[in-house]
């Protein structure tokens, strides 16, 4: 139940807006001039809002497709991201969104057709070159699918545009819209994991590791290309055993041959965002330990980070070929 829906006045009559409003019949609708009036203003508490987020419906007018941050890629020639939604239904303590945004309300940009056109235009700038579009940068790609129908709407776009590749990055088991259609060669459903012991502490509201593996298995059986994302890697005193157990658990059920790509990334968060999150969660051990600042990016001490990455890298290469392994590392750091 969504208690409040804020909607930009200019899009109130849009059919997509109306569909979403009708879905939450009992919600109170509050018209706003621009979504930023609610979402971006100062003096909000992300942590408290996460207790009862509201929905904000808006139109995104520019910068619909943006270049992906450096170090963010899985082997394509060009990397872009787009965000039909801001914020996530899950509550992962390590997530940079809680330090980037002032509000925990969910923003849905309803002008899907404009996003589609921007994706086509961008792909057309790179004819014959593999051009990736990441959809899970500012939100989980699938977790809000029953409300947004994002995947159902965008997947047909990629059918027939072979150089445009889509990554759906998720922790969600909301995969019905994918199972009900044929798999696409240029779409990867990438699942994010941390070991169960870490997930239970730092990933609130997220399906268990087992349930995510179960969802992956269904997608694998349906022919979807799968991705595995161990990004960010979170420290645990017993991290070697924890991550080994996680890898074993996944590959006991998921066929490595069905895996398109595997990526590892160290825990990292821009210093400004880190400071915001640390103020919001002074009671979280994640932000209480010493971190190192490397070129404005806060992360674990370099020795520990390197040891974690190298260990997991080695473990993964026992199961998967090197050709599908990628490290998401800021430019200031050296990949293993």
């Amino acid at each position: 139940m969504m208690q409040f829906i804020y909607a930009e006045e200019a899009i109130l009559d849009d059919p997509h807006t109306q569909t979403l409003i009708k879905r939450f019949k009992k919600s109170t609708l509050i018209p706003v001039k621009h979504y930023g009036e609610v979402f971006n203003r100062k003096g909000q508490n992300f942590r408290l809002q996460k207790q009862q987020p509201a929905l904000i419906l808006a139109r995104k007018n520019n910068e619909l497709v943006l270049p992906a941050p450096a170090g963010y890629g899985i082997g394509g020639n060009h990397n872009y991201y787009f965000s039909h939604m801001l914020n996530c239904v899950y509550d992962c303590r390590y997530c940079f969104l809680q330090g980037m945004y002032r509000s925990a309300n969910y923003v849905i940009f309803i002008n899907f057709n404009d996003f589609k056109q921007a994706i086509l235009d961008t792909a057309a700038n790179h004819p014959g070159e593999q051009t990736w579009f990441y959809s899970g940068y500012d939100c989980d790609s699938l977790a809000y699918e029953p409300v947004t129908n994002f995947a159902q709407t965008f997947l047909p776009l990629f059918d027939g545009h072979a150089n445009a590749w889509l990554e759906l990055r998720t922790k969600s088991t909301q995969i019905r819209n994918l199972l009900e259609r044929d798999a696409l060669d240029n779409v990867v459903v990438a699942y994010s994991f941390t070991p169960e012991a870490i997930s239970q502490v730092y990933e609130q509201g997220v399906p268990s590791v087992d349930k995510r593996i179960e969802a992956m298995l269904k997608l694998q059986n349906k022919g979807w290309k799968l991705g595995l994302r161990f990004d960010p890697m979170i420290y645990h005193p017993d991290y070697q055993q924890q991550y080994s157990d996680l890898f074993q658990k996944i590959f006991a059920r998921i066929d490595p041959a069905a895996v398109h790509s595997v990526s590892l990334g160290a825990f990292r968060i821009p210093k400004g965002f880190y400071q915001n999150v640390a103020l919001l969660y002074p009671d979280s051990a994640l932000f209480a330990h010493n971190m190192e600042n490397t070129a404005g990016m806060m992360s674990y001490p370099i020795g520990l980070e390197k040891a974690m990455l190298e260990y997991c890298h080695q473990q993964l290469l026992e199961v998967i070929p090197k050709s599908i392994f990628f490290t998401c590392t800021p430019p200031s750091k050296e990949a293993p």
Partner: protein, 262 residues
């Protein structure tokens, strides 16, 4: 602590009685207090509401939640109905504010516009008052949107104009909604106390300051380190005895910093 800003004595009277507030002398504004509530009577209008809020903020030593309680007009809503504002507009500047709701209140919500003069021509679907925008613009500097709210009770509508309002009637209208107001205040105060507990500085911080001399910058650093140390060692209190052998503030900071390594 809940800080209540209210325009009129007759609006304040039922709240003062219900919460057992005591008048504090020698203040610029009528001020009533208890252990958990401060109530200031601002006078009518946005500017009065803003200046009284600022005055009260200056007196408040701990992070507080803020409430503006009072009467409002509406074209069609029944007299005596209680509303919580979900949008507040300064009708003159057209500036808007959106209080954030982090718990279910059970109170109906509405848009509220603050005017410079009493209104007799009611705009559709709007509550009309004369203080909320001034109150909100001032108090949003003192806490976040989750802790600032406006509760309004309908005192006039198209059938019952502002000219029919009198002091006794206003007190009676407020009195009729004391139970939901009290419940709202209680829940808001619980939220505030939980948040204040989460962000509180452990007592050992002041003990350390008494023992060694810290510069202003060092004090800020120390506060962060003590909080982080406490988060990582919830079962073990940091003690002065543990730090007693350290020669100066610099050594204390290094000691605590080193203890936070992974």
């Amino acid at each position: 602590m809940i800080n209540i800003v209210i325009a009129l004595d007759c609006e304040a009277k039922p709240l003062i009685a219900r919460f057992g507030l005591k008048r504090q002398q020698q203040h610029t504004y009528p001020l009533y207090t208890s252990e958990h509530i401060n109530l200031i009577v601002s006078g009518i209008g946005k500017l009065n509401a803003a200046t009284a809020s600022g005055y009260l903020a200056g007196l408040t030593r701990e992070p507080a939640a803020w409430l503006n309680i009072g009467i409002a007009g509406h074209k069609s809503h029944s007299l005596g109905t209680l509303y919580l504002a979900h949008k507040i507009t300064n009708q003159q500047s057209q500036q808007n504010w959106y209080p954030a709701f982090t718990f279910k209140t059970g109170i109906a919500t509405a848009s509220l516009a603050s005017f410079d003069v009493p209104v007799t021509e009611y705009a559709d679907e709007l509550l009309h008052d004369m203080e909320a925008a001034g109150f909100y613009q001032a108090t949003c500097r003192f806490n976040s949107a989750e802790f600032i709210h406006c509760l309004k009770i309908v005192s006039d509508n198209a059938e019952h104009s502002t000219q029919k309002i009198n002091k006794q009637m206003v007190s009676k209208l407020i009195h009729g909604q004391l139970t939901p107001i009290e419940t709202f205040i209680s829940t808001l105060n619980n939220q505030l106390e939980r948040w204040n507990d989460i962000t509180a500085t452990p007592n050992i911080y002041n003990d350390i300051l008494q023992r060694w001399h810290f510069s202003t910058y060092q004090q800020y650093h120390l506060k962060q380190l003590v909080k982080r140390w406490t988060t990582l060692n919830p079962q073990k209190m940091l003690s002065i005895e543990e730090l007693a052998s350290l020669k100066n503030s610099h050594r204390v900071l290094i000691h605590l910093q080193d203890a936070l390594d992974i």
